[in-house]
Symmetry: D2
């Protein structure tokens, strides 16, 4: 039997001084903030973490720093997403040495793959990595969609223990539950978009890897509890705030990664980190910062009333 | 105040003898089947109805026949989706004369539109149609996505009373609820994909326009009731069958409209209609029919146990 | 043997008073302008003609008016592109009665088709239409791409005599030449985008269906002659102006049909037509008109020097 | 003034024993084959070279080996395409140390970029790399399209000397010529797809980075000469063979990278390399190999007659 994982995992932003320099104090501040906020795990170098933009040197520094500083307080998930299998395996090995708990990987994102190649890819990873592996489906970035049958084949592998789906596709997610979860009840299925946490858990999803928990971890950990307790009034109240973050923080900038620019802007405005994105991304412009600053006031008022 | 519409509306397939000849008896049989199955309304000439493939002569015949035969037993929704506003308005006028209850329109689907043009388009329709109007968002066919802000602007129009969203995008649907529904509680929001009925109603969706209710109307009308009653065990049992239809009927053919080819195959196999698609579509091949025939046995066994 | 068609065909814009009223005088003025400008044919109700936005009443009016007014001076091509085969065939029949020369059709553009369905669709048209038929490939609007093998199959039909490719894909066009043209030398292959006229004729294309010839017919008819004469200096000089139109007229507005809004703006500014688009399209804003007005000065100066 | 580069550059496949082991002898054999075939340069680790799939260790090995073995016989181009700027710059530095001549980079291909971010990205590279830089536009893999205005801004940089466009878009390429080349005549513009070499050079393109030259370098170097000499009969004869390779080698496999799988299959069948792809890619199946083997007979017969 696999160990089912339930709860909120934070796909951490990466605090930076500049593209070559990790903001070590920012990372520690963020980790305390998240753990105090009740999240069930932290996830390094995913899409929200600008993982593919970071040098291998910095990726290693980030893994080591995080594992040391967390010191077992919550599990550490590490994304090894890469277009090169060797580099990915190297990073997985290093993660294990540092004490990380789980490995996460999306598909390689340059050359298009067939479904059979996707199965082979993840099988190769799972066979060669000593930590348990989570699949990560994010077609907005990889431009590849794992079919439900592909996930089902992979769920049979003893070392592939779960999946994060960031497709945003409600039909797909529910088909994963009906086809994969029904066949492998101990296979963990987590959702990416914050906005879908409630609706995916309604049918059996196990939780979320939600970017918004970087900013308001307590909002998400409390929402998770409310869902488990089927406390409808509280769910409605908290979901309203989740949607406010979506509208008022994630959707202010107009680029395709507006959620990420908005999120880093908000975390900077709240005093957790610098405002640096990792190049090639450039931070949102001043008008976006000003709007988000204003919007945060309303969100925090709602939060205060709710939590 | 607008009249909120809650329940299951069937986006009817169009029964045909051939591309020029409506299967009148098939339509009557279907209507009785649906009304006896407890659906809350029938919807003509949507995507499932192959609406854009039908001649104007047949569209009129279908509206008249349906309104006459239904005779008020349930409301009749008519899709006027067209690339030409004049033709759309003509059909809306005729629908009213025949006694239809509601008009539904997707966006014109040839020349790309800006969000402002979308607002203007639906405003023109709503200003010139005497029946209440539903918006229909179906980017898979129109290749256009109405932004949430566009919907919000349109929801303020007194004659636009609701929306069907077939985008399949869970984040988008929940943003509609948070932004549009919260501002206009009497604006009806219905979901398209069968697979998302439960998860969208979990946060305030008003029901579904679900293709699968052509085949098993009772399954959907009972599921709707179970959701309203928050009967979790019954929801789980019925949702399982909904997903079986998705996997075992909709996903057997491999074309981009596999759901439609599978659905018509199943309805033919169940004795309701002929197996004719409206050209340019061609019916699924024999192997698909054989697989679906076999699959229906299992689905009907589950249904018998559940309902 | 099929009759090869070589030259420049103008995909005419549709001059309007408003969405319900054809600008009859504008159409006559345009026709004289084009025929005097030396184009080899005029093409009604294509993408540039906003064909799918026009009512059937107006489509018929436009066909009749044009055939009568042209009175054999140049061949008249009519687009019957529709999602409904019956309506398309009706319009083809009427076109023949009015004296049109050729029928053109793109694929139905609502429900996705397989390549086999595309073959069947065009075969049905070709079998039931008395005028010679041109295929029209325009994936930007139909979201369907005819494979080269599909075109090759259709080129064998005695009544399908050519194709207009507006995909913009240079590899695809050259594969059409290598696979279809090589097998059927009497099959006409014309290019859509103005910018590609020279480069596609370099390898055997037969000419163009070029929107810019609405504005400057002489530019295109002279460029065609220069290409046939292999007059490299003149080709370079005229191609430069073609590209100026692309940059300075087609690319000023920012919508997905900016070429069309820019083109109608320029024709209005030049005194040929009103500035009305057919709803749901809305004309470009004042700033776009002002920029194009300014840009036209430069383009006309270059034209004067060249022609 | 920048040094204009004209001719055929081969985007080399990477010969492998397995995903971790370079086929050193295969690489040497390929290099002799290409240089003897008259190509004007060799390009390492592009899309055809499965660059993003190779470990950094192997990338360095490949650069060193190639520069040493080529020993100045032709210029060596190195792709540093990466999602991380630091890694890219490191590789550029190493390339210079090894004696490479030019650096090539596509856009980072994970997080979506705005046009401004693209300008900043390439400016950062060009400012920090000592070798001259070529831009590489390949939206099929990066899912990002550099606008013509973006390229124009970058062409002003003294260290950005040219561009390879693999978009396949004929309108775009000709707009590059009209807008960028016209403003900066010493900016080199090369085309990717083999099928477009003739049609892009017809209007001023400077040559190609053509995958097919891996297999038949002489075909492409001769075609380049024929184009420069405006030898129409010879162009037609050679272009026919280029298209045969496209149809009979590149389009046999059905995956999205069929060209690459077909090319490696053909090179294996011709005795140059092993049949290994770099995982996650898996080689084409036996039926594809058998078809290509048969097809090569006809292509080589044509080649023998032509060259």
């Amino acid at each position: 039997m696999k160990q089912l994982f339930e709860g909120i995992i934070t796909p951490m932003i990466t605090p930076l001084i500049d593209r070559m320099t990790l903001d070590v104090e920012g990372q520690k501040k963020m980790l305390d903030h998240l753990i105090n906020g009740g999240v069930s795990g932290v996830f390094l170098m995913g899409t929200t973490g600008e993982g593919p933009s970071l040098s291998y040197r910095m990726r290693r520094q980030l893994i080591k720093l995080t594992c040391d500083y967390v010191a077992g307080r919550v599990p550490v998930f590490v994304s090894i997403t890469d277009t090169c299998i060797e580099e990915a395996l190297d990073l997985a090995k290093y993660s294990k040495e540092c004490g990380a708990s789980y490995i996460v990987s999306a598909l390689p994102y340059y050359l298009g793959l067939t479904q059979d190649e996707m199965v082979k890819f993840f099988t190769t990873l799972a066979d060669n990595i000593e930590l348990p592996l989570f699949l990560y489906n994010i077609p907005s970035q990889t431009k590849l969609m794992m079919s439900v049958q592909t996930v089902k084949k992979l769920a049979a592998h003893p070392n592939i223990i779960g999946m994060k789906d960031s497709s945003g596709n409600g039909t797909y997610f529910n088909t994963l539950l009906a086809e994969v979860k029904a066949a492998y009840p101990d296979f963990t299925i987590l959702v990416g978009p914050d906005e879908m946490l409630v609706s995916t858990m309604a049918l059996g999803g196990n939780g979320g890897v939600n970017s918004g928990s970087n900013l308001f971890p307590r909002l998400f950990s409390e929402l998770f509890k409310a869902i488990k307790a089927d406390d409808k009034a509280r769910i409605a109240k908290l979901q309203k705030i989740v949607m406010k973050v979506s509208t008022d923080v994630y959707s202010v900038d107009t680029s395709s990664v507006s959620f990420l620019k908005g999120l880093k802007a908000a975390l900077y405005l709240e005093g957790f980190i610098t405002d640096a994105m990792c190049e090639p991304l450039v931070k949102a412009d001043d008008a976006v910062f000003a709007t988000i600053k204003k919007n945060l006031v309303g969100i925090k008022q709602l939060l205060k009333e709710a939590i």
